[in-house]
């Protein structure tokens, strides 16, 4: 490789950490870390110099190369941190728990609607199967007892729900929206 080609890019050999070793004017800098440097001929691979930073010929190039390497590491670390932050943000925003099972607390909550456990079970079964066809299931507490009947009614046509199916889902959601229940 010519000296010109060497000074243009960092392609070719890679360091132990996987990052390409910098080449400058026919010289190849290896074992780069803060405060230490080894210099070899790019064409022959012969070691020319081993010295500390800030001493001797090529100190400025070596510092520049080290800074570039560190910048590369920082960019990769930053990308990984950003990815982790995005995932954590999504996880923190989401409620991964399934809709609550029919519990005594939920049954008690359904007393004003005069609904028994069997009807609530049926409502939950229809909610997790029919509504899932179109969208992920929202948290049952996202809407109030008063809001759910209107929402279920609006979507019943799309989910092809019969009047009794619609009623069962509504009763379950009304009870679950305000009940302190444990997910199954």
């Amino acid at each position: 490789m010519s000296a010109g080609a060497c000074s243009r890019g960092h392609a070719g050999e890679a360091s132990r950490s996987g990052w390409p070793l910098p080449r400058t004017r026919g010289l190849l800098f290896s074992s780069l870390s803060l405060g230490e440097r080894r210099t070899r001929s790019a064409s022959e691979g012969k070691e020319l110099l081993a010295s500390k930073f800030g001493v001797g010929i090529g100190a400025r190039d070596a510092k520049l190369a080290a800074a570039t390497t560190i910048l590369g590491h920082c960019t990769r670390c930053a990308a990984q941190i950003v990815a982790v932050v995005i995932v954590l943000f999504i996880v923190s925003c989401a409620d991964f728990a399934p809709p609550p099972a029919v519990s005594p607390a939920l049954i008690a909550n359904a007393h004003p609607d005069h609904v028994d456990a069997g009807q609530l079970q049926n409502g939950r079964r229809l909610f997790v199967s029919r509504c899932l066809e179109c969208h992920a299931l929202p948290r049952v507490t996202k809407y109030t007892r008063e809001q759910w009947p209107h929402l279920v009614s609006r979507m019943s046509g799309r989910a092809n729900l019969s009047a009794s199916d619609q009623e069962a889902i509504t009763f379950y959601l009304r009870a679950a929206s305000s009940a302190r229940t444990t997910p199954r």
Binding site: R124, V128, E133, P138, Y143, N160
Partner: protein, 233 residues
């Protein structure tokens, strides 16, 4: 109130099937268009499907026409491929059960070709996050006497996150093992990966996936983009 009415049978993925089946008594039309690129546009596949919800756990689909448009040096023009029947039976629910499982069978026949495609569909929903996996075994008999037969094993994995009831974004991965004449010695491995986005309107949905090939197999598309547009009847 942000929860809006949505489309029954909406797809979050285009190369991956999901475990839930259509509601009983529902009818939908889904149109597929898959464009392939390898040093420019090389062709496109089209499918036109009518999907019918039969029971709570069973749906059937009729692919009226699967056809393609090819534009290569050797070949140019539109060709009818086949028509097919697809059946999906849902065994478990991806929310209520530890994992949602469905079984899929498609049988197709056309001019000098007979095809069978069997799939295991697995899915798990974690709130707005949907994870889906398909394992597919495909067999194809071609030629006038159906002597030429080929196989394909395919696995696909996808993740989709619902930003809202209308919009979801995610990614899909596709691993194909092509088995010409069912000889494993001639097997060809292709791997594709890419993002997807889905929008659900009132009575319709559209989902788009763009996949790039990472295996650099000669003769296979470098990129493929699939769009599914569905309308409720």
């Amino acid at each position: 109130m942000c929860l809006t009415s949505a489309f029954a049978g909406a797809r979050h993925f285009t190369f991956i099937y999901e475990a839930p089946t259509s509601p009983p008594g529902s009818y939908e039309i889904e149109n597929y268009a898959t464009t392939r690129f390898a040093d420019g546009f090389t062709g496109a596949d089209f499918r036109h499907e009518i999907e019918i919800g039969i029971t709570e756990h069973f749906q059937a689909s009729i692919y009226l026409a699967n056809w393609d448009y090819t534009r290569t040096r050797e070949n140019r023009g539109a060709h009818y491929d086949n028509s097919s029947l697809e059946l999906i039976y849902n065994l478990t629910n991806p929310v209520a059960d530890p994992i949602g499982i469905s079984l899929y069978q498609e049988i197709g026949g056309g001019r000098r070709a007979f095809e069978s495609e069997t799939k295991l569909i697995a899915q798990k929903n974690f709130g707005p996050l949907i994870l889906a996996y398909n394992l597919t075994l495909e067999a194809e008999w071609e030629d006038e006497s159906l002597r030429e037969h080929n196989g394909e094993i395919q696995q696909a994995f996808g993740a989709s996150y619902e930003l809202s009831p209308r919009v979801s974004v995610g990614a899909e991965m596709l691993h194909e093992v092509l088995l010409p004449a069912w000889h494993s010695s001639e097997a060809e491995n292709n791997f594709f990966i890419g993002p997807n986005v889905s929008y659900r309107g009132n009575g319709w949905f559209a989902t788009v996936t763009a996949l790039a090939q990472t295996t650099r197999t000669e003769g296979e598309a470098d990129y493929q983009v699939r769009v599914i547009f569905g309308v409720s009847l």
